[in-house]
Amino acid sequence: MILALTSRNIKEIFRNKMRIGFLLGMPLAFMLIFNVAFGSSGEEIMDVGIINLDDSEISTTFIEAMGTISGINMISYDNEENALKDLKDGNILAYMGVPEEFGDNMMLIWNNQEAEINLKIKYDETLPNTASKFISIIRTYTLQFSGVSIPINIDSDPINISYEKNLVNFFAPGIVIFGLMVLIPTAGGMITHDKEKGFMERILTTPVSPTQILLGYSLPLFIVALIQIAIYMGAGFALGMRVYGNIFLLFAVYMLTALWCIGIGMIISAWAKREDQAEPFSWIFMIPVAMLSGLWFPLEGMHPIVKTIANLFPSTYSVDAARALVLKGSEFSAISNSIYILVVTTMILFLVGIVLFKKLVVK
């Protein structure tokens, strides 16, 4: 019976172009805006640093000729320290060091003798697309210049860019969680719509229990949520998001988020008489919650009252757990408190939802 309702509700959601467009379009639109704001398009010119530790004529020529490559803009540095500082500040996307013996070794190679040259490249790990583009440019160029392929030593240790600078990683969890909160008006609106149109009464004249009915609404929305999460994650990765922690744990945090959102929607729908009450009410509830629970900006440095209020919202725990996983690579133990709170909150919300539904809808 749950399945019969689930199947009906899935059809109602997926065949209603407005509804499905909103549910799946919203994450895509978010990511698109996100992309424009923080992503780099392929045509952009990359600022890269170059440190010449060799004084030979060959290295000078090598670097000068490199400056003519389209798509990169070279900035010279005297020492690695300055280059690293600019990389960390986000002024350049990568830098390359030309080693001391570059000219001499190049001569040896051209004279068919044994020699080893290592070009050292360091890049911002959070932008892997840019880095790989830069590396491939260098590979092609060195081959053209020297006639042999020069081994490029890529320094791939994650360079310690302080995380406020890493916008994709910082904002992704908040965006996903806010995006999932769209389930609140959707769940609230859907159930209220059916109440308003008498469909709920029609179902209630058949031998189905209130719990089965509510599960029949939650399950399809949960399936929609899984699709939404997949879209968000996919888009995030395409934009260079990197998850340092366990990705399955992150998925679990997002799924819990979807569940408590459905629970809140359920409670709103028990109370609301008409759809045009349920939806705006959900939004009025959502926006301040999103603001106050650190979805858009960190709560550090805010008034203590804000923090106290924030602790009342499940979204705070969702975003804390997700951010810890994405940015710090936290283990389960570090976020277990948040997860337990989310699990308990979800259970309470569902219970309250079912009790209210029994009281207010099943008279």
Partner: protein
Amino acid sequence: MTAIETYELTKEFNGLTAVDNLSLKIKKGELFSLLGPNGAGKTTTIRMLSCLLNPTNGKIKVLGYNAIEQPYEVKKVIGVSPQETVISEFLNSWENLELIGNLHKMDKKTIKERSKELLETLGLMERAKDPVHKLSGGMKRRLSLIMALIHDPAILFLDEPTLGLDPQSRRAIWKYITKFKGEKTILLTTHYMEEADQLSDRIGIMDEGKIVALDTPEKLKEKYSKKRSILVRGKNIEKVKGKYRIENNGIIIDDGNIKDIVEHLSKEGVTIKSIRIEEPTLEEVFIEITGKELRE
């Protein structure tokens, strides 16, 4: 045997008594019609009987089950066609019927067979695969009705089943209902007096939450309606002015032998065009009992 029984059934909405101390017994296999002006409490009664609304007071028994304490047992045996058209907009007709069938735990094959029969009976087969939001109002109405029938319930609550339907559809529904008369217990509400007259075994006329008259259609007409009368239309009617009652260019004669009437009128110089015997109607009964004023 009694199929539906209410005892002092009462429903109050914030001080307004919608159903007032209603005690009613409907026999198994009986088709019972509830008639009454708007707001009389018909729908409220049906909603209580189908476990959608808890009564303020009183008892309900449906096939021996207490509707307040054993709603699931009651819901298994009833089919409810609500006053409003209620269907799932983005599903097609088959899927709508399948949903209700599944909620009643019917097997797939039976659902298919029953759906086919019902869709054909009510002429919905051709459009059965269209999403129902594309159907006309009357088609939606027909679907909404057969959604109450799909699981072949022993007891049917039909709240204005033929509201807004064309004469053809209405007749098809009457025919269908007549088919299982005596077999199923049906509680019907309607504002079409002809419908109630044709179909009902007994009629209860409800006003302000109370049943004010209850009997078979014939007995009600006998008791409450004026006697049958004869209406004569024709030329030179004014010639008998004073001797007969004349209303709307017709002569109204309360009783008498048709042959005598024709002879007498011809003698007086009236050219008769038509003679009609006016049977008492349920509508007259209805107006007689519930009055002419509009209800608020």
